[in-house]
Amino acid sequence: MRRRGPAFWCLLGFTLCVCAFLIVPVGMSMLAGVTVNYQSGIGSGMTLRWVAQVWDGYRDTIFRSIGIALACLACTLLLGVPAAYALARRQGALARTIEELLVMPVAIPGLATAMALIVTYNTLGEFRTSWTFILTGHVLFTLPFMVRSVLAVMGAIDLKTLEEGAASLGAGFFRRVFTVVLPNCRSGILAGSLMVVTLSMGEFNMTWLLHTPLTKTLPVGLADAYASLRLEVGSAYTLVFFVMIVPLLIGIQVLARPIELGTKATRR
């Protein structure tokens, strides 16, 4: 074990400061959400009354966000997994160009994507004012993450040879997909799913333009709360958001390691 010189401790200190910079505000926000009076600080006591107020006032936006995230997941699974398969089997310049195109909604600002959707579909009143309008934006934004995640695993397992092996034993296309392809892509599908749900729950830039007063999502509600309500209520709302999203983030972190290890193992 090398002796740790002053350089190590300096850098560690620096890194800890950066970490504090990122985490302390999160902690503070969560704390403020359960404090009776933020001005007076924690001494004024803890309460769940702000959280209750958030729940009363914003329960439907919270459920709507969850609903949209799940619907987004369903869409990206149905659209993205077959698309990833097609791209994995047909490698080459065309596949790469298509991948580039799919990433575009992530590359350009959410504002632009939302504006494009609005100017095109404004006339379809039913569509424009329903939650499916927001869903569309979310699907465009999260699809590349699902595709990328599944594609990465498919690349690591040498999909072509596995399928040829299964075909040589008599397996037709559907049988191959359900017994060999999908089971071996499980980790990629799972990681992609977590990513999609997390990103959908937290999406704001597009949703702010796409929403109507009747189709608010959690981040949109947050913006409302910050602007119009007490700091404590805004903090409580943020607390609810964190409570929902942190488990998802942990899930992503936990999966990321085994995927790397797993793909390295199958690459033997």
Binding site: L22, M104, P109, A112, M115, T120, S235, F241
Partner: protein, 272 residues
């Protein structure tokens, strides 16, 4: 085998149709609408000719550039350090550094307010120290802090991935030839990380240029391009100008990211 090609096309079709109908066509429409305002096609040059828009572009660019520089420096140092050293609690540190990846800009704006707003912690500290409250949340400085906040997790992942791939043997060779640690950093590590830094930097820059939520939350006086566009759209109801501006902004960020992709493999999430 054309039979299998047909099957692959069929599998891709749902995604392709959705993408074409809800992205490609609307983008085309956006482009067209941008040219239908009272200025016609010269609306596309308005970003340079209109004084307000131009100022907005300049301040956004300067902000994004400084955020990128600061973020790369911070992430570079912390990222390489974390990759190279194993110590108790390291995994937890890495996890904490990458958590904010999915926070919406609104939340980040809110946290900036908590830090440096009218009732903010920093205000308390400075009041206690100097008697005067320091409030900078609602200015470019606050925006800068917010942007650095969401940029660090993104860039640090890219830097760590690249640092892991650096060949330690090259450094050993340099040391065997007499290079001290700072020289090794300058001559071996930084050049080795250059593609990753370029790519992460481009992503950081593009994201900052297009970020909306944070600036929106911090509101009022800040003049960044996405907020300007939003204002043109909602307050002035000038759809054509807003369309043209957002199209231009979209092309700009896409171009920067395309450059990033040629320098490195994959892109990390761009949101905020």
């Amino acid at each position: 085998m054309s039979r299998s090609n047909r099957l692959l096309l069929l599998l891709f079709l749902p995604a392709g149709i959705v993408f074409a109908a809800f992205f490609l066509v609307p983008l085309g429409q956006l482009f067209v609408i941008g040219g239908t305002g009272k200025e016609g096609w010269s609306a596309y040059g308005a970003i340079l000719t209109n004084r307000n828009y131009f100022n907005s572009l300049v301040s956004t660019t300067l902000l994004s550039a400084s955020v990128t520089a600061a973020t790369l420096a911070i992430s570079g140092i912390a990222g390489v350090f974390l990759t190279r050293n194993r110590f108790w609690g390291r995994v937890a540190l890495v996890a904490m550094l990458t958590f904010p990846l999915a926070f919406p800009g609104v939340v980040i704006g809110f946290m900036v307010i908590m830090l440096a707003g009218r009732q903010g912690v920093i205000g308390d500290v400075t009041e206690w120290l100097t008697g005067e409250r320091l409030v900078f949340a609602y200015s470019m400085t606050g925006l800068f802090i917010g942007y650095v906040y969401f940029s660090i997790p993104r860039t640090i992942l890219t830097v760590m991935a690249a640092a892991e791939k650096l060949d330690p043997k090259v450094e050993e060779a340099a040391r065997s030839l007499g290079a001290g640690p700072l020289r090794v950093v300058r001559d071996v590590i930084v050049p080795g990380l250059k593609p990753a830094l370029l790519s992460a930097g481009a992503i950081c820059f593009a994201t900052a240029m297009g970020a909306f939520g944070t600036a929106f939350t911090l509101a009022t006086r800040i003049n960044v391009l996405p907020v300007t566009i939003y204002g043109v759209f909602t307050e002035e109801a000038n759809i054509a100008a807003a369309a043209a501006l957002s199209f231009v902004l979209g092309v700009l960020t896409w171009a920067v990211l395309a450059l990033a992709r040629t320098a490195a493999g994959s892109t990390v999430a761009a949101a905020g």
